[in-house]
Amino acid sequence: MKKGFSLFKLCSATLLGTVFLSAALFAAEETAPGVKGMSDEEFTPTKEVLNVKYVQMDKPYHMDVESLKGAFKDAGAVKVVLQKQDKAFPNGGGSVAGAEVKAIHDGITIYFQITWSDPTKNARTIAVQEFRDAAALMFPLGAVEITPAEHFSPRMGDREKPTNLWHWKADWEADLLVKGELEDVEVQYPNMHDDFNFNPYSAYYHRELITSVEVLSGGRAANNLLSQPGRGRTVEDLNAEGFGTLTTQDHQDVNGCSHYEDGVWTVIMYRSLITQDPHDVQFVPGGNAFFNMAVWNGGEQDRNGQKNISTQWHPATLEKVAWQ
C-alpha cells in the first residue's frame, strides 16, 4: 500500500506539472471553476458486480469483434446507466441512455466489450463541424477502496486520486485502414487544392519539404499523439486526476477493435493484465477492480466533457485462472 501511495505521488507530480505550466497565469483554485458539488451516492459503487470471466482461448490472428464473439459468449453483462455530464463546464451529452459491458480474460490479456446504440456512425473528424463517436473506460490507479467515507471521484478522479483511462476513437479505427495510417484531408475533400503536397508518393516529391513537415505541423512537431500518423492502435492510454487534467501517456499499452451495424456500436478494448508502466492500472486474476465509463455521440457534437457518463464506479472481479 505504501508503494502504491508513492506511485500516486509520482503520477500527480507529472500531471500537475503539465497543468500548472499551461495555467501558470491563474491562481490555483481548490475547486475547479464551473464545477458543481457531488453527492454521496456518487462515491458509492454500484451493487452489481461485473464478473471478468476466465476464458481459455487462443489469441485470434485478426483481432476483431467477429473473432472474439465466441470468447464473449458466456460472459455475463452489466448494464451501465448513462446520463448527461452536468457537473463541469462545458456540460453536455445525454443522447445515449445506457451501455452494456462484458469482460473476459485469458490469464494474459483482459478484454472489455462495450455495446451501445447510436443511430449515426461518426468516424471522421477532419471537417471542423464533425466529431467522432468514442467510448472510454476509467480505472482508479493503484489499490483503492471506494466508499462514501473514502471519496474517489467517479468523474475523472481527483487530486492525489489518479485514474487510468482507455479512450477508443472511431476515427482512429478508420485511420488504421489507410496507407500511412492517418486519414488525410483529401478523404474529406476529394478535389481540394493544396499548395504543398507532402505526400512522398506524389509525382513532385520534394525532400526538403517532406523533412520540414514536422516543423510546419504544430501538433506533429509537439508529439501530440492525436496528430501522429501510424499510431498502430485505436485506443489511447491516458491518465487524469480531475477535470481538465487528461494527459496522454508516454507509453501506449491499450488496443481495441470495433464493429458498427444496425445502429449499434460494439467496441472491444484489450490490454495485458499486467504492464511495466507505473501509470497503468494492473489486473490480478482472482482480484477486484473498479471501472467507470463514458460514451461520446459524435452526431450530437459530443466531445470532452460533453458526453454520456455513468456517475458511479462499478466493481468487477476477475475469475481465477483455471489450470488444467
Partner: protein, 403 residues
C-alpha cells in the same frame, strides 16, 4: 466565475479566471481610413505560417469588407445575435479616464449571456462550418445602400463600405482560453500573447466555438486547433535582422498602406500605442461588447454611418473620428510613426519645428507644424526619426529615366 475589470466596458464582468494582466500587452493600431485591402498582410502571414497542408482554409490575418464581408461568413452578426438581450446599450454620461473611458456597457458579454441563459458553458458561441471558412473574400468591395431611414444619413455619398483588418486580438480575457476545458490555451505573462499548446490540445474545438472573433481554427490534418501566434519569435527579438530588438509581426511589417502600428500597451504615456489608445482615445477596440478586452485597436473610418460604427467600435467612435479629421499637433506627430520601422517602438519624442500650413476643416482650425518625431526601441536607442512633411528628394537630371 470571478469578477474582473474590463476597461473597454467600464465595469466589472464575469470571467472564469482571476484578473491577471501581463507585464506589457501585445497590441496594435490599424487606421481603417488608409487601408486599400491589398491583402499584403494576409499573404505575409499565409506565407509564413499557414501554407502547409490542412491549413488551406486558415487566414490568421484577413481583410474583409464591411458590411457584407466576413471570414468566416457573418461571424460578427451571428455572435452579436447570441449576446443580444434587447438592451445592449451604453451609459455614457459619466466616464472615468482610467476605469471607464468610453462609459459603461449595460448589455451582456459572451460570458454573461451564457450565465444568464444557463447553458452551462463558459461563453455563448457557435462553430462555423467548413463552408463558412471557404470564401474569405466573400462580399469584397460590395457597397451598402444608405437609405435615409436606415442607420443614419451620410452627408455626401449614398453608398458605403470599408475594410476591416483582422487577426487574433490576443484578448486580455480571451474567450478561447476560457472555453478550453483542459487549459491548453495560455496567455503569456511577458507580452500577453495567447497561444494554443499543440501538445495539450485535443481538438475539442471549444475555442473555435467560443472565441467571438473566430480566430482559433481547426486543422483537420493534425486533428488539433491552431491560431495566430503573434509571430512570437519576432516579438521576442529572435529574428537576426533587428539584432535582438522586439520586431513587428509579419502582417504589420508588410503593410504597404502604412496603416499599422504595433507595440505594447503599458503604463508609459510616451509609448505611441499607449498614448493613441489610452490618452488620445483615437483608436478603439473591435466589438468591445463581446467582453474579451481585445487588443487590436482601430481608427474608425470617417465615411461610414455612425450607428453602424458605434455598434462595431463602441461609443467612442464620434470623438475618435472628430480627432482624426482635425488632428492635434501631437497626434499628427505620433501618427507619422505608423510603419516607419520594423523594430517595435517603445517611446516617442517630438522635436518642435516651424508652422508650415494652416486651414479650416469642418469649421475647426487646423495648424500643421513640421515637427520631428523620434521613435526609441526597448533599449532606449533611437530606431526611427521622421518629420511631418515628408522630405523631398530631387533626382539628378542624368538619372531621370534610370532605375
Amino acid at each position: 466565475m470571478t469578477l474582473v475589470h474590463n476597461w473597454h466596458l467600464g465595469r466589472r464582468m464575469e470571467y472564469p479566471y482571476f484578473e491577471s494582466r501581463p507585464k506589457r500587452q501585445f497590441a496594435a493600431i490599424f487606421n481603417i481610413n488608409r487601408c486599400i485591402a491589398c491583402q499584403t498582410c494576409t499573404m505575409a502571414c499565409k506565407s509564413a505560417w499557414t501554407y502547409n497542408k490542412g491549413q488551406e482554409h486558415m487566414w490568421w490575418n484577413n481583410v474583409e469588407t464591411k458590411p457584407y464581408g466576413g471570414y468566416p461568413q457573418s461571424w460578427d452578426v451571428k455572435t452579436l445575435k447570441l449576446i443580444d438581450n434587447g438592451e445592449n446599450t451604453w451609459y455614457t454620461d459619466e466616464k472615468d479616464e482610467k476605469l471607464s473611458p468610453y462609459g459603461v456597457y449595460e448589455g451582456d458579454t459572451i460570458f454573461e449571456a451564457a450565465s444568464k441563459k444557463n447553458i452551462n458553458q463558459w461563453a455563448v458561441g457557435y462553430i462555423p462550418e467548413d463552408k463558412e471558412w471557404r470564401s474569405p473574400n466573400f462580399g469584397e468591395d460590395v457597397a451598402k445602400s444608405n437609405k435615409p431611414d436606415e442607420y443614419s444619413s451620410l452627408p455626401e455619398h449614398s453608398r458605403w463600405f470599408f475594410y476591416i483588418q483582422r487577426l487574433c486580438n490576443h484578448c486580455t480575457y480571451p474567450g478561447c482560453l476560457a472555453a478550453c476545458p483542459r487549459k491548453a490555451i495560455y496567455k503569456r505573462k511577458e507580452d500577453g500573447i495567447v497561444l494554443i499548446d499543440q501538445k495539450r490540445c485535443r481538438g475539442y474545438r471549444k475555442c473555435v466555438e467560443q472565441c467571438p472573433y473566430k480566430k482559433p481554427m481547426y486543422r483537420g490534418l493534425t486533428r488539433v486547433s491552431e491560431k495566430c501566434i503573434a509571430c512570437y519569435p519576432r516579438v521576442e527579438g529572435k529574428d537576426p535582422l533587428t539584432k535582438g530588438r522586439p520586431m513587428e509581426t509579419r502582417c504589420m511589417a508588410a503593410c504597404v498602406g502604412q496603416i499599422r502600428l504595433q507595440g505594447f500597451l503599458d503604463d508609459n504615456p510616451k509609448n505611441p500605442v499607449t498614448w493613441l489608445i489610452r490618452h488620445d482615445k483615437l483608436a478603439l477596440p473591435l466589438y468591445p461588447q463581446f467582453g474579451t478586452e481585445p487588443n487590436i485597436y482601430y481608427i474608425p473610418p470617417r465615411w461610414a454611418p455612425r450607428a453602424y460604427l458605434r455598434q462595431m467600435f463602441g461609443p467612442g467612435v464620434d470623438e475618435a473620428i472628430d480627432k482624426f479629421m482635425v488632428p492635434s499637433r501631437e497626434r499628427l506627430a505620433v501618427m507619422s510613426l505608423f510603419r516607419m520601422a520594423q523594430s517595435i517602438i517603445f517611446e516617442y519624442k517630438i522635436e518642435e519645428g516651424p508652422k508650415v500650413f494652416e486651414t479650416t476643416i469642418h469649421g475647426k482650425k487646423f495648424e500643421m507644424y513640421n515637427d520631428t518625431v523620434i521613435g526609441f526601441g526597448e533599449d532606449g536607442q533611437e530606431i526611427v526619426r521622421t518629420t511631418i512633411e515628408e522630405p523631398i528628394h530631387i533626382r539628378d537630371p542624368k538619372h531621370y529615366n534610370s532605375i
